[in-house]
Structures are given as structure tokens and as C-alpha cells.
């Protein structure tokens, strides 16, 4: 079960992912990112601080947006990941394909740098 909240801050869309993302709930994450892109946000920050679990279905959602966001020059930065969640990303080597920061200010800074 996952809850997704979106709020806007300094031109960035901040997507907070709360709970667990598995094959039954990954569609929620997909829809949230699609909305964010569709609404024309120039930066997407994904707050993972309340994300307790992610399976490959959720990882696949992030992966599937890499090319589109690159083409549209929209940086997406994930931040605040718990160690057990970060471990799932690192098992697959996704930490090198996605932009990941520790805190929200760091995520915003990285997004600003990537926007240039």
C-alpha cells in the first residue's frame, strides 16, 4: 500500500512516496510521475524518506522515465532513502543511472546543477 503526495516548492514538483511499492502499487508512482511531467514541471524531486519498501516494479517505473526526462531536460532526483531501500537500488547498480541525494536541499541543489 502506498500513498503519494505532491507539493510544489521553488519550481520543483516534490513527490512524496509513503509506504510500500510493489507490483500491485507501482502504478501509483507511475501516474504521479506522469502527471508531474504532463503538468510541465522543470524539476522532479522524489521524497523517499517514508518509503519503507520498493520492489523491481517500482524500480522499473523510475528506470522507464530516464530517457524521457533526459530528452525533456527535466532532472529527477530521489532523496531521503532509508538504508534498506537504498540497498535495493545498489544491488542492481541503479544508483549510477538515477540521481540520488541524501537530503532535500542536496536534491534541490543537484537538480539545479543538472538543469543548467
Amino acid at each position: 500500500m502506498v500513498h503519494i503526495k505532491r507539493l510544489q516548492e521553488g519550481g520543483a514538483d516534490i513527490i512524496s512516496v509513503i509506504g510500500e511499492i510493489d507490483a500491485s502499487s507501482s502504478i501509483e508512482l507511475d501516474l504521479a510521475i506522469a502527471k508531474s511531467v504532463g503538468e510541465g514541471f522543470k524539476q522532479i524531486l522524489v521524497d523517499c524518506s517514508a518509503l519503507e519498501y520498493i520492489s523491481s516494479a517500482g524500480l522499473g517505473v523510475f528506470m522507464s522515465y530516464i530517457e524521457e526526462l533526459k530528452d525533456k531536460n527535466i532532472p529527477m532526483v530521489l532523496f531521503g532513502m532509508k538504508e534498506k531501500v537504498a540497498n535495493t537500488f545498489s544491488i542492481l547498480g541503479l544508483a549510477e543511472l538515477l540521481h540520488i541525494a541524501t537530503t532535500k536541499p542536496e536534491a534541490k541543489k543537484l537538480a539545479d546543477e543538472l538543469s543548467v
Partner: protein, 137 residues
């Protein structure tokens, strides 16, 4: 120590599978990072079977068995009657291809193989058994 859990092939049951695995191992002194990885691997295997072998039909059942013969060795078996979904026969797509093709699938198999020490398939009483082994020192 043996544990068993029977569950219908609905993706909404994955959470129950994760809780079962976690509860079964809670007294085994498994470090949290390893525990999370094991839970993830079982979720991946069960969701793959539910989707590809059972088309998410909740009337189709999976049996999940956990067997701990000696301390530090964990055997997980998923028993079903569906078509065999042998991940050892699947070519793992490389990450660059997945990104390029904007594919959302293909990562689960890679996770399971990275987490588990062995994945094998056998037949028992006319049923398919997928056996995953994990050693924790």
C-alpha cells in the same frame, strides 16, 4: 524449523507474503539488510509467478515453504501447478537496454539472482517447486 503459507495469485497478497517471510525469520538473527533482501527476492519470485504463470487469478494458489535445516541455511520453496517460469532460462536484459526501451520489467530476475545463492526447479507430487537457497554466515 518449517513454515508454510498458502496464498491466492493476487498481487494484493504480496504484502502478506512479505510479512510471512519476515515473521518466519524473525528469530533467526538475520541482519536487517539481509532480511530485507530475502523478503524482496520472495516478493519478486511470487509476483513473477502470479503474473506470468497464473495471470493473477486469485483462485490459483501458491504454497510458500520456508525450511531452515541448520542455522544460517535458508531454503525457500514456492510450489504451484502453473506453467514453469524458470528464471534460469531467461536472458537478463542489460540495464542500458532497459533504459533505452523504457521497459518496466526485467529487473526482478536480476534482483533474485543477485540476492539468492541458488535458484533451482524441481517436480514433487506432480507440482512445480521453485527452490531458492540463501546462506547467511
Amino acid at each position: 524449523m518449517n513454515y508454510q503459507y498458502n496464498i491466492g495469485c493476487s498481487l494484493s497478497n504480496l504484502k502478506g507474503i512479505r510479512e510471512f517471510v519476515r515473521n518466519s525469520l524473525k528469530d533467526q538473527h538475520v541482519p536487517e539488510i539481509e532480511m530485507s533482501a530475502i523478503v524482496l527476492a520472495l516478493d519478486e519470485m511470487c509476483s513473477n509467478l502470479m503474473i506470468h504463470a497464473h495471470h493473477c487469478n486469485p483462485d490459483h494458489m501458491l504454497e510458500l515453504h520456508i525450511h531452515i535445516p541448520v542455522q544460517g541455511k535458508f531454503i525457500f520453496e514456492i510450489v504451484d501447478n502453473g506453467s514453469v517460469f524458470n528464471i534460469n532460462e531467461f536472458h537478463e536484459p542489460d540495464l542500458d537496454n532497459l533504459v533505452h526501451q523504457k521497459r518496466k520489467g526485467g529487473l526482478g530476475i536480476r534482483l533474485v539472482k543477485a540476492i539468492m545463492d541458488n535458484v533451482e526447479y524441481l517436480k514433487r507430487d506432480e507440482k512445480n517447486v521453485c527452490r531458492l537457497t540463501k546462506i547467511i554466515k
